[in-house]
């Protein structure tokens, strides 16, 4: 199964009655995998690696307050 297909399946539940206690955690795991897939296949539209939880903050404050820390990703 591809990761994209499995990601959809993960959100649809297992088909058994009642909530799947692992569904939320599975979602977390799948999101981590999707990140890997998207980052490892050039040409697929998506976020650049540096957009992930990275420190644009430094670039901003570097501009304002601390020039030697200025890096533009």
């Amino acid at each position: 199964m591809t990761e994209a297909g499995s990601a959809q399946q993960a959100t649809q539940g297992s088909g058994s009655p009642g909530p799947d206690p692992r569904a939320e955690l599975l979602d977390v795991l799948i999101r981590g995998l999707e990140m890997a897939r998207r980052k490892s296949e050039p040409g697929i539209p998506g976020e650049q690696p540096l957009e992930l939880f990275c420190t644009y903050f430094y670039a901003e404050t570097g501009t304002l307050l601390c020039p030697f820390l200025y890096y533009h990703a």
């Binding site: 199964m1 499995s6 955690l25 977390v28 795991l29 981590g32 990140m35 992930l52 307050l65």
Partner: protein, 372 residues
């Protein structure tokens, strides 16, 4: 205003509010206390490993080894970023048939983890307890010096990084870099002992490196799917304060990532690529830095709040390592407030835990803002 604060002079009220916020951020349950989160994370991975053990004798062997260990060692072993990634890959293969790890590789890695799990100081990625420690104990994790393992785990670890960050070159830290990082960790701990300790405990491995393309400059980042790993540019190590700030900042992203494992924060089916996009007001003139998905809004709100407290502490202790600490504290608090207000428009994309998380941040920000 909190009970008991009304009679205090203004300066003391501010100090008391700051201390109260720091305590919740560092030690509140379930979103702050690192020891609690680590134990819950270990429980999550033990459950996942139990699933994998149905089809893997190596997983069963590791479970047996973990059962023989004390709780603290078990938690330390299950903090290992590569072991977490490997168990996740095994669980996703078992549950969903996702093919991200070959069964032989899964077994080899889990067998290695079981062999290394003699004490909490020896883990899959730090098999011989030779990794450079970021702090006086392994609590703050390690710095990647490239010889932590006999090869298999190290190769797999760097491959997992490169899967997520193509075109990146991992480098082994030299002694000077390790010492700068260790001084940075000590500096952060001196400024905000409880908060820094709570944050840095989420680091398992600090990895230095840079992109092959010279124009892809960065300072630091974390990788969802590779928990506990903090990537730093060697350029950040120009000074102790920069190292301290980078460690503290990214460690809070790692705390957020860990929280998401134990209290999933987002609604079922939430994905970055289909998330609504938000451009913070301070990026309105530079759209290339805007368009944040909801998860980034939440993690940034969390980090900005932590930095607001951190820089308030810097300012109040006259720590000379940072200039303009009070102004930076104000900026971070203002931004955290903007993000927390904005998050109110996207609560449908969060789980109950996610809404609880946002509410807890808003309560802390309210305290901080009232103290100004």
């Amino acid at each position: 205003m909190r009970d008991g604060l009304a009679d205090l002079p203004p300066g003391s009220v501010k100090e008391a509010r700051l201390a109260a916020v720091e305590e919740v951020l560092a030690d509140g349950v379930p979103f702050g206390r690192s020891g609690y989160i680590a134990e819950e994370v270990a429980a999550v991975y033990t459950d996942l490993l139990t699933l994998v053990a149905g089809t893997s004798t190596a997983a069963a062997g590791l479970l047996t080894r973990l059962d023989e260990m004390g709780q603290a060692s078990r938690v330390a072993v299950l903090r290992d970023s590569l072991l977490r990634r490997t168990i996740e890959d095994g669980a996703l293969r078992t549950l969903k048939g996702i093919d991200t790890i070959e069964p032989a590789m899964l077994d080899d890695l889990l067998t290695s983890a079981a062999a290394a799990a003699v004490t909490g100081n020896r883990t899959l990625l730090n098999e011989h307890a030779r990794g450079a420690c970021l702090g006086p104990t392994p609590d703050f994790g390690y710095v990647w010096i490239g010889d932590q393992t006999d090869g298999l785990a190290g190769r797999r670890f760097t491959e997992e990084i490169l899967k997520r960050v193509p075109g990146f070159r991992v480098s082994a830290a030299d002694q000077n870099q390790v010492e700068t990082l260790a001084r940075g960790a000590r500096l952060a701990s001196r400024v905000a002992p409880a908060l820094a300790s709570s944050a840095l405990s989420h680091i398992f491995m600090v990895v230095l490196g840079e992109f092959e393309a010279e124009d892809q400059l960065f300072n630091s980042f974390t990788l969802p799917g590779l928990p506990g790993v903090l990537i730093l540019s060697p350029d950040v190590l120009a000074g102790d304060s920069a190292a301290a700030e980078a460690l503290f900042h990214e460690a809070f992203h790692l705390k957020f990532i860990d929280i998401d494992y134990i209290r999933p924060l987002f609604a079922p089916g939430f994905r970055q690529e289909t998330s609504p996009r938000i451009t913070p007001e301070w990026h309105e003139n530079d759209p290339s830095r805007g368009s944040w998905p909801v998860d980034r809004v939440l993690t940034s709100m969390h980090v900005y709040l932590a930095l607001a407290v951190f820089f308030e502490k810097v300012a109040s202790t006259d720590e000379p390592a940072w200039e303009n600490a009070a102004a930076r504290a104000d900026q971070c608090r203002t931004r955290a407030t903007w993000l927390s207000n904005t998050a109110q428009d996207y609560l449908d994309h969060l789980s109950d835990s996610g809404r609880h998380f946002v509410a807890s941040i808003r309560a802390m920000l309210s305290d901080l803002n009232e103290a100004q």
